[in-house]
Symmetry: C3
Subunit: 633 residues, 3 copies
């Protein structure tokens, strides 16, 4: 497949006189796609039912005339002031009980019925008007669901909807009492009206209720997205996407994605390194201007799964952003590197955010491809380079990866509700496994928790899953590679209680977690092979053969056939050893990559990316900092 | 006295079919006592005035039939949903003004009249039904008063009650204005309605008002407990206890204890090391699986004082807990060590929390003696070992300790209200003194602030007392050992103002604190003898002879006869030197114990406990990690 | 001019019987001024319109009779309970929406109309009664505006007033939408009622609105102060001052100062070192008992500018305070040093806070010149020493400084609203420049942002100015010394948007900031000369000659004639090199002072102050710690 470039554009921010010139320059630089409209509600409907389509008609015409394809966004992330006046109780409420106000964006509660109807209405109008427009070649629903911590809201609307949701799920208060063990601390309820949202309790609320609330909140997002998709599909055949935000686990992306045609995500490597990736300060300093060398790839692989193979970068960082704690500029070359890395992982389109830096409002310090004065910013030239390189490049087609990692949103919620140790988190654990695979030079597929076919993979890692889905359990039972599960995998019921008999219940592996320990920073469980567990360690019992022990003789890894269980959280070096050992067992060659060098294999190429701030050797090639190298496979 | 074991049990959590087997196993393992009922309100009274006693009747019968003695808890820490529906204003309110909701436990305001009547009612019913039951051999009121920061509530109920309390104490607004110095900043009030709770002020409220609020809040707990005791005593002759929580100073335990027959506390050594003991991270890592080597002993000695000689461990950690920031498992042997240490300090009963790990709700990750699948957890075997050892052991009787430490809740409140340096705290200061005594191998008695007989002790430490009570001052005046007071002792009035003439007013010691300094971490006041003060230093004036000076010549310790005053907060090594010097003066031998080894002398034995993670030598014996050694005295 | 001493006194705190003796001792020790009355509202007007002037009449008489001049404070920082009962909505509201209550001080919203009228009334009464009193020789309005974070309030009163203010400033919602770029995120409003205060939004509000709110809040303070000044001026010719608090930038001190006759500030060197100066812990430990060696001088120079040459210390720390995180005592001699340093910088009066330590209420642990028992505290003797020294000293007259630093409150607000990097702040940046000047031995004048005459100065530093005022730009255009601007200077519009063409727009310097980077701790931009930028770095473009480059060749300083632009935030050593280099260019000699030694030149003297904890050499003199040396110039 030929890959292409895009850009995010806000015609409503600029004098109409410059649109044509902007469009011409976009086309000239090699951009094929333009995303527009996703925050423009106040210009599309300045007052209730008073629509102003003219400017958007003309903008789409101008862009289309320049040969650009339009991604049209629904503007529901930014309801105008009059919508909030009409539905004052649509505002989300924070965990501490404080209302969150109009004046920025995402000021709505997903569960609010009235706001959902407003959204259905504006989306229907938009779809009716542009559903057959020849230039509108794709749609985006809303913008970055969950961003700014907006999935969980503690409003009256949420309370009402949650009670209804519980009533549907459990059918009776008594059934919920039993499922949640509400006899504990006399938390039993006799009427749904006695159930409150799981905030502001004296101490921790029942974790089963908290997990139920997480499921409910995720479903609200799914429903909210689905009603928009329904309205668009009635009018348009163009593919519908949503732009997910990096390291967001507050709702189930697979479930939202099931209603979409492709996934996309917003990739801000330097912002994310600064504000949401666990790294020690020295490592953050080393990758200051490049971003974490595995974080982009991880999301690429994740959204390839969410999009069932089809995915984009909807927003690609083109220079410094404004929202991270600190905001340095990318190392020259990194915008190109990030773009090529996305293509190597299968992105259909990489779309830069944004065309021209806005000189006003919240994101005025966020770079664009152009400066506010319309001069090219550094990212402009790198985008142009990629566009040229793409022209000369043969098609980049995906190759199946030899190893897989299972990722599950429900598990992220469960362990957030019940971390048991302050630094335990599902994302972090899954990412630790992913990084170890990447350091060994492996290309990785990410799988949803209900994956039913593992046969393409020689090795599957599934740490920290709340429970095994039926299809995945079935797949494991007949799996011929090696699956490494644990720690914490399949040790709970769906309601976040402890099963009796104790878990995990793994096909063909007699191993039971009898006790779990969390470990503060500065402490560890040393292993016989010189490695160590940090953060987490489980005591195992059962007949499964012990492959590795702690220095005091407890099982650290058990299993020999195809299913193994890992009883703790290995540090990086230990994880490297484990991954390389398992790869050797299944005959999968691994590499020992220099720090910052990363690989990705496609059908015909091996891509090599240098995230390090110094040149690195790759066989006979020296790759400069921010350098991209590709060679035939 | 023969010491015995107990366990906490929740018949309402389990199928009635397993009760008998549970009871049989308890008895078999050597358990004598079972605490039940303290969270079961929703099962005892599922709806207003609809009682269901049947299951509790049967549970007590089954336990009693197995030879177990029952401690019956009142269920007032967990009012059911219907109680809260009836009294919505009974909910406590946090310092920031936010209500704290139903959905966990302790969701009540001690000052709420309506809730007090509900409590009186349920306790009366309980006492009427079980007051003469032959198996109910003790009572527990409520559960862990103050836990989850519930002593201080800023509700309307609290506001009303506080105004009444102030009116009683001060008789007129004018008198309070005078006592508190409300002329400062025009804070004078002319009507009680103008007094608000001391939260949400623009800057710090008047410390005199804050201390008054702390006294009020403590008295609310005392009243709340007393009404339960009254109801039980009408029906039962069995002893009444409450289970205090570790390192809680929010109410006066001596005052609550005065209404009880014995004290008890809930000992979670590893949880407490993690979440409430000041130690540097290296020290926390060293004692990760053992707990702080002095913290348990400190509480044992404190609750022996609160119980006027009679005390229990009502809840003993048997494995990992769920509520600390991190939750590792005890080192093998520690459950036994903790149990023996409690007996050596005089515990009548050590009761493990809990029999079987709950597979549901908030504490599902908290170990029990049994796993959720009813298999023995590690603590089970250690409890069984202790039970066997107890059988073969002669009676353990208390011996008077040669040194005493005075502990005072009011002082804890005063210095919390007015720390003057961010890391000054009464508990921490008293514990620093206690630790120095323990490192010297001494057994310690803790005394209440109104102790009137010091004659059993050769040395008394009383750092940080807000003021000297009359009986204690009288006792000091004729004391023949050495009393070391200060820093900060007796430097304020009862209303937390500065007395003129300045304090302290110590019998026979001419010393005045003219100025106090607090010192940030990384700074110190060096002493002539090579020692140093941290945190706190006072400038002294007066004719008292100077026993030790700072390097710039200021008094550091004054006094020579029996009363000495310490002008600062010594670091550990300095405190060691001071304690050893004073012991030498009074002819009390001290030891130089290896780090982690601790002693306790009883009438006939010397017990030696090894908290260190490595073996330690004790004269000719090597004690393994978690080892307990005893020898005749 | 002869300089004199003063003291803060609270007759209402003491028995009337001691007033005369207090006054006698004040006079005896050499004190000339007494500030009184500023918290006494509840004693002046115990109930609405019931006044009690008698005690204040007598207090002024007693003080005047002893030869003391009175500074009379208006009591508006502490409205009594009955005022709040009358205007319950006058209470300020915190950013999180919580009301802030009666019970300490400063519990009012500057924008509240009703409270303003109460203030006008009490001030009018006070001025009517004492405006012609021969002993009342100066006035103070209110007390420490902004202290305890009280400038910004999110009350209903503030909301109403802010909407009116916006309507005045922008004339129409549409004009504000345009000025703020509210098209971004559909934030456009069609009615002023749709504008809310910039708190509690889902994510950051529009920075233009936030800056408008900061301007509004500052103007509320100016108006509040002005109405008091108006009332006093009607009745009195005595000079009117306000006592500003250290490191407060929440309102424009120049604007408030324009209505006053002189400035004054409250100098707490040790408290400020502890709670509001950025220093690493080792440096804080080194200056623990002395205060930061530049912070007092900085404020002296700042308030000399605010007072247009006339300024006082209204409150001088005389010993430990009570309100900092830790509160050590000053090194012996520091009270004298601080006093002399203030005189050397031009203070007319240095007034100690307070005469006698209060034994009650919030500040009972705050030292006075006397102890609570009326004995002299350490500061007493140092004040007496200064008084003696002043007698024998010739007049201390100001000398023009050779270098100037521009300070601007609006810039502080702008960068607080939009720091772009977590540790970027205007005060900190300006202070970094100031410190570099002081380390070079230079005396400094601070200039307001609308300074129109730079001719007295050989060197002007103006880092971080939001924009250049017209007068300052004009002055720069004809300036013959060297002006060093940047980083971040003149890169925004007045509405905090980005100008097109891009800034800065500096006379005669072709340089444009095309991109800005913020840098986390532990990262840097290294410079060719071995120096480095921390925190901040800008990419420059333009024809201006490059004076210094980064190691990778980007401009670090540009300009050669009189206007230079600094593209980053130099670390201390780098800033030293830059300052010394520029001084050499303009023929200004610099010194290399030992750490802790600081100079100040007056018309006839050079003063040398030793803030170091060890003796320092100054030419042939050894100056002890806390020592003050002066010599003829
Ligand atoms: Zn975005
Ligand atoms: Zn408990
Ligand atoms: Zn003050």
């Amino acid at each position: 497949m030929k890959r292409s470039l895009g850009v995010c554009y806000y015609p409503e921010h600029w004098d109409e006189a410059v649109w044509a010139e902007d469009a011409r320059r976009m086309a000239e630089v090699g951009i094929a796609w333009v995303r527009i409209g996703e925050f423009a509600w106040s210009r599309l409907e300045p007052a209730p039912d008073r629509f102003d389509w003219g400017w958007l008609d003309r903008a789409i015409d101008v862009l289309g005339a320049a040969g650009l394809k339009v991604v049209l966004g629904t503007p529901t992330a930014t309801p105008p002031a009059w919508v909030v006046e009409k539905h004052p109780d649509m505002l989300p409420v924070g965990k501490g009980g404080q209302p969150r106000r109009f004046g920025s964006r995402r000021h709505y509660d997903f569960a609010h019925r009235g706001y959902r109807e407003e959204c259905r209405r504006i989306v229907r109008h938009l779809a009716e008007r542009y559903g057959k427009n020849p230039h509108v070649a794709a749609w985006q629903t809303d913008n970055e669901y969950a961003c700014h911590d907006t999935t969980l809201s503690y409003s009256d609307a949420a309370r009402t909807a949650f009670r209804e949701w519980l009533a549907q799920r459990y059918q009776s208060p008594e059934a919920m009492n039993r499922a949640h063990g509400n006899v504990f601390w006399s938390m039993e309820v006799s009427d749904w009206s006695q159930v409150d949202l799981p905030n502001l309790t004296v101490t921790e609320p029942n974790p089963s209720l908290s997990l139920a609330f997480r499921r409910f909140a995720s479903e609200m997002v799914v429903e909210f997205n689905r009603l928009q998709v329904e309205e668009i599909r009635k009018q348009s055949d163009a593919p519908i996407l949503h732009n997910y935000m990096g390291r967001v686990t507050d709702f189930d992306h697979f479930a939202v994605g099931a209603d979409l045609d492709a996934a996309s995500w917003d990739s801000y490597p330097i912002g994310f390194l600064s504000d949401r990736i666990e790294n020690d300060p020295e490592r953050k300093a080393r990758f200051l201007r490049q971003g974490d060398p595995d974080n982009q790839a991880f999301h690429h692989d994740l959204y390839r799964a969410v999009g069932r193979g089809r995915w984009w970068i909807m927003e690609q960082q083109p220079g410094p952003v404004n929202w991270a704690p600190w905001n340095p500029a990318p190392l020259p070359g990194m915008v190109r590197l990030w773009t090529w890395e996305a293509f190597a992982h299968g992105a259909e389109v990489v779309s830069y955010f944004r065309w021209r830096q806005a000189p006003f409002a919240q994101e005025q310090m966020h770079a664009g491809l152009l400066r506010p004065d319309s001069q090219p910013a550094p990212g402009f030239h790198e985008a142009a380079t990629v566009a040229k390189e793409l022209e000369g490049m043969e098609a980049i087609d995906p190759a199946p990866a030899p190893v897989a990692l299972v990722f599950d949103y429900e598990s992220a919620w469960a362990w957030e509700v019940q971390p048991q140790g302050r630094d335990f988190g599902f994302w972090r654990l899954a990412f630790a496994a992913y990084r170890a695979l990447r350091r060994a030079g492996l290309s990785v597929d990410i799988l949803p928790p209900d994956a039913e076919d593992l046969s393409p993979y020689k090795l599957v890692l599934a740490p920290g899953l709340l429970r095994l889905s039926d299809p995945f359990r079935t797949a494991l039972a007949s799996y011929e590679g090696i699956a490494l599960l644990g720690p914490r995998t399949d040790t709970k019921t769906a309601d976040l209680t402890i099963p009796v008999p104790l878990g995990p219940d793994l096909p063909g592996l007699d191993a039971t977690v009898t006790l779990a320990e969390s470990l503060p920073p500065g402490t560890e469980v040393p292993l016989e092979n010189g490695g160590r567990f940090l953060h987490w360690f489980e005591h195992l019992e059962g007949a499964a053969p012990v492959a590795l022990r702690t220095t005091d003789g407890r099982p650290a890894i058990v299993g020999d056939g195809s299913i193994c269980y890992l009883a703790g959280w290995p540090d990086d070096a230990t994880f490297d050893g484990i991954v390389r050992g398992l790869c050797a067992e299944v005959g999968l060659p691994t590499l020992d990559l220099p720090d910052g060098l990363r690989l990705r294999d496609t059908a015909r190429h091996r891509f090599v990316f240098n995230y390090a701030p110094e040149p690195q050797r790759w066989s006979s090639v020296t790759i400069p900092p921010a350098g991209v190298h590709w060679e035939p496979r």
